[in-house]
């Protein structure tokens, strides 16, 4: 049996949903996916070759042409840009003697850039892929470090650490909340507790979690699925990474609780491809541990509830954080968002009823079931119940992930917890690339969903990026423009065309009429795009036009 056959052997009899895993295996072995490999995969999974080719072409981490033994991608997004990433990239290219995106003639290196890697507290960051080995991240990247080897980074955590950020790195004990649910609570009682807790989804769209579970529970159609959204690609967001690396069992227990509540026996945990293999392997180990302890798998703790979790790796596409695009990715397709309705509660993964929740949301559920809704509501406000994780980066003393009691102000968070502002504050970007800017006189806003909404801003996924007066805001806007241009899936015209036109205007010298052009493009993307990406791709730009009209 040749090497390719050996790689494909475990996939015999599998179908299209195994496509991303196969492509990863082939690429890890060969560095790229050749036409011969596509031909063989097509036979194994019975998927047309053209479709496989289209899938490879959609995901940034897949290659259909040979690349170097080591592929280095330096993050040149917002926080890394501030920390000198452009220089690191330039030095690397000079050192190896190649141009951007090229492969060295000895075949050892391919070097390029990438959008945010979710390591912003360690900016500048880079992703290194080695043939036959896989991906790892390099924190505080320098060209020497990137060429010389592996590096581990520690998570920077802080804030009040009231709930989710407690007990980091604890060995597996028991799934006490799950035990309680299985033996003392009905499905309806679990859902009621989650509803009463007022928990709102932590992935950015701020939908009430209990309601989502209730709708899915009510559908008379099986199988049902639980999907944990760990795609975490919103620039400036890295809280889910910290949970995956330091509290994997909390996430798995939350998924199992959801499975019990809605009547699902299968869960998928979809991790963005840029998170290093170590992150997903960590989760794979945690699953094995839990299965060995009878906390996951068949007849959990001797009950008649069975639940298994499968890890899926994305392959480089911000859009796959959008829930329906994520389903398409798991199904082995290009990550195009679907038209809604129908919603995932009735037509989700494989067109079956599905709950899709963010990593932090599912983690929060565990405490709610174990200690009750009232316990959870001791923190936060009526409309922003419970603690919230914030990823903060840029010009603050201690960038990192902070667990806060919602209601504290942005200024308090930064001055009392994050080591204060570095330099003189110019602007804060709330909610990541899809968010909005605040000026220095707006930072006494309270950090709750409702206060920020009232201020015309957003908490979004909890990303906060801080810029001091050394930063050229046009440069920041240019990077935002490039991000969306790179990440638009291309399905609908307003975003496919608008992200390109918006980026062009933001990176060139200003021309008369640009402000009107940006407003027309921005409002058209916001009002006419198919999904949340296009609908927010201009939100930071439009907020900047309001605050700093002289820049345009």
């Amino acid at each position: 049996m040749n090497e390719l056959d050996a790689i494909l052997a475990p996939y015999q009899g599998r179908q299209r949903d195994a496509l991303l895993p196969v492509l990863w295996d082939v690429q890890t072995a060969y560095g790229y996916i050749s036409a011969d490999a596509v031909h063989a995969i097509s036979h194994t999974l019975r998927v047309p070759e053209s479709d496989i080719y289209g899938v490879i072409g959609f995901y940034s981490l897949f290659h259909d042409e040979p690349v170097g033994e080591t592929v280095i991608r330096v993050c040149t997004d917002l926080s890394c840009g501030l920390a000198g990433a452009d220089d690191v990239l330039h030095e690397l290219l000079v050192e190896i003697g190649i141009g951007h995106g090229e492969t060295s003639s000895d075949g050892r290196y391919t070097i390029g850039h990438t959008t945010c890697l979710g390591l912003c507290e360690h900016a500048p960051a880079a992703l290194v892929s080695r043939r036959g080995v896989g991906e790892h991240s390099v924190a505080s990247a320098t060209s020497q470090r990137l060429l010389n080897g592996t590096e581990r980074y520690g998570a920077v955590v802080g804030g009040d650490a009231l709930n989710l950020l407690q007990d980091l790195d604890q060995p597996l004990q028991d799934y006490a909340a799950l035990r309680q649910a299985l033996f003392d609570l009905t499905q309806e009682q679990v859902i009621a507790e989650v509803e009463q807790s007022g928990l709102i989804g932590r992935g950015g769209a701020a939908f009430p979690t209990g309601m989502k579970w209730k709708f899915t529970h009510a559908v008379d159609k099986w199988p049902k699925y639980v999907v944990c959204n760990a795609d975490e690609s919103e620039p400036g967001t890295f809280k889910d990474r910290v949970l995956m690396e330091h509290r994997p069992h909390l996430i798995l227990e939350g998924m199992a609780l959801c499975g019990y509540a809605i009547g699902a026996s299968k869960g998928y945990l979809f991790v963005r491809g840029e998170y290093p293999l170590a992150t997903s392997e960590h989760l794979v180990e945690a699953i094995a541990e839990a299965e060995a302890a009878g906390l996951l798998g068949d007849n959990i703790m001797g009950s008649d509830f069975s639940f298994r979790v499968e890890i899926r790796r994305g392959a480089g596409a911000y859009i796959c954080g959008e829930e329906t695009a994520l389903f398409e990715a798991i199904e082995g397709k290009r990550g195009f968002p679907r038209i809604k309705p129908p919603y995932p509660t009735t037509h989700g993964l494989f067109q079956q009823p599905t709950v899709v929740n963010n990593v932090e949301t599912l983690s929060a559920v565990v405490g709610i079931v174990e200690h009750g809704a009232a316990w959870f509501k001791q923190w936060g406000t009526e409309k922003s119940a419970g603690t919230k994780l914030i990823s903060i980066s840029g010009h603050v003393g201690r960038p990192g992930v902070y667990e806060i009691n919602p209601g504290m102000t942005l200024r308090e968070l930064i001055e009392d917890h994050c080591g204060g502002f570095v330099g003189e504050l110019q602007a804060v970007l709330m909610g990541g690339a899809a968010g909005t800017f605040l000026t220095p006189d707006e930072i006494d806003v309270r950090l709750t969903f409702e206060d920020l909404r009232a201020a015309g801003s957003t908490l979004g996924s909890g990303a906060i990026m801080v810029f001091n007066t050394s930063v050229d805001m046009r440069d920041v806007l240019g990077r935002l423009g490039k991000f969306f241009q790179h990440e638009s899936c291309g399905k609908c015209f307003p975003c496919q065309l608008g992200t390109q036109r918006q980026m062009e205007i933001l990176v060139r010298e200003p021309l008369a009429g640009d402000r009107e052009r940006l407003v027309d493009i921005g409002l058209t993307m916001t009002e006419a795009s198919l999904c949340g990406l296009g609908q927010t791709a201009a939100s930071a730009v439009l907020s900047a036009i309001q605050r700093w009209p002289e820049l345009f």
């Binding site: 596509v38 053209s50 959609f58 065309l497 390109q500």
Partner: protein
């Protein structure tokens, strides 16, 4: 009995079966809602968004071709918001794609007072002409990405799967696997894709030859069916 919904479209009331799209209802009332990607014979995917209408003054506009009518809704098919979106989409499309052979889109651009020079120095989607078979030529510089050709080649009709979308975002384009010639692909030259293409991107070689001013002899030579080489029997 099927459930019905009643709504008003530009002030006119209409009652339709539940599930009827806004486009269908508007057409029953003889309202003109423009479309680019929509085609009666292919799955509607809500791509072009020139069909957007204002429903209940909502946060976002709704694509009439796929959005279902809802009870008591107030729909405006052409107000200021709708016009801005349609005009801007057309301006951006025109700045990226060669629309010279898309008369319907040209008419739309006139109707919406499009500034054809709105985006100076904008990058265009330019592709080399693909003339790799005796039957048709493909000029993707004229492709608006309506997906119809890909769909009829796949599950909407032919189940041949010669075509796919490649790339992402602005760089998205229609391609065969690894961009091989159509003659090396599973293409059976059924011509369905040509039939649904709304622009000049896909056209019969004869038509192309006449446009180029080729002689009848040249056209005949270029469209002669080659003997199929490379036929291998798979085990």
């Amino acid at each position: 009995m099927t459930k019905t919904v009643t709504l008003t479209i530009d002030g006119d009331s209409i009652t339709v079966p539940e599930g009827t799209t806004i486009l269908e209802a508007a057409r029953q009332l003889d309202k003109d809602v423009p479309v680019i990607c929509y085609h009666d014979a292919t799955t509607a995917n809500g791509l072009c968004r020139v069909c957007v209408v204002d429903v209940n003054n909502g946060r976002v506009l709704q694509p009439a071709c796929v959005a279902a009518c809802t009870d008591k809704a107030t729909v405006e098919t052409r107000n200021e918001r709708v016009e801005r979106s349609r005009r801007t989409i057309l301006e951006m499309l025109n700045s990226a794609v060669d629309l010279a052979e898309a008369p319907e889109i040209q008419d739309l651009m006139d109707d919406y007072s499009v500034d054809r020079e709105r985006f100076p120095d904008a990058k265009r989607r330019e592709h080399d002409l693909k003339d790799d078979n005796p039957f048709y030529v493909r000029d993707y510089s004229q492709c608006v990405l309506c997906w119809r050709c890909v769909q009829v080649c796949a599950e909407d009709a032919q189940y041949t799967f010669a075509l796919t979308l490649d790339g992402r975002g602005f760089e998205t384009h229609v391609s065969t696997a690894f961009d091989i010639a159509l003659t090396d692909s599973p293409c059976v030259f059924c011509g369905q894709c040509i039939g649904v293409c709304p622009t000049g991107a896909l056209k019969p070689k004869v038509e192309f030859g006449i446009q180029q001013g080729w002689s009848m002899e040249d056209i005949q030579r270029s469209t002669r069916r080659p003997r199929r080489k490379n036929i291998t029997i798979e085990d």
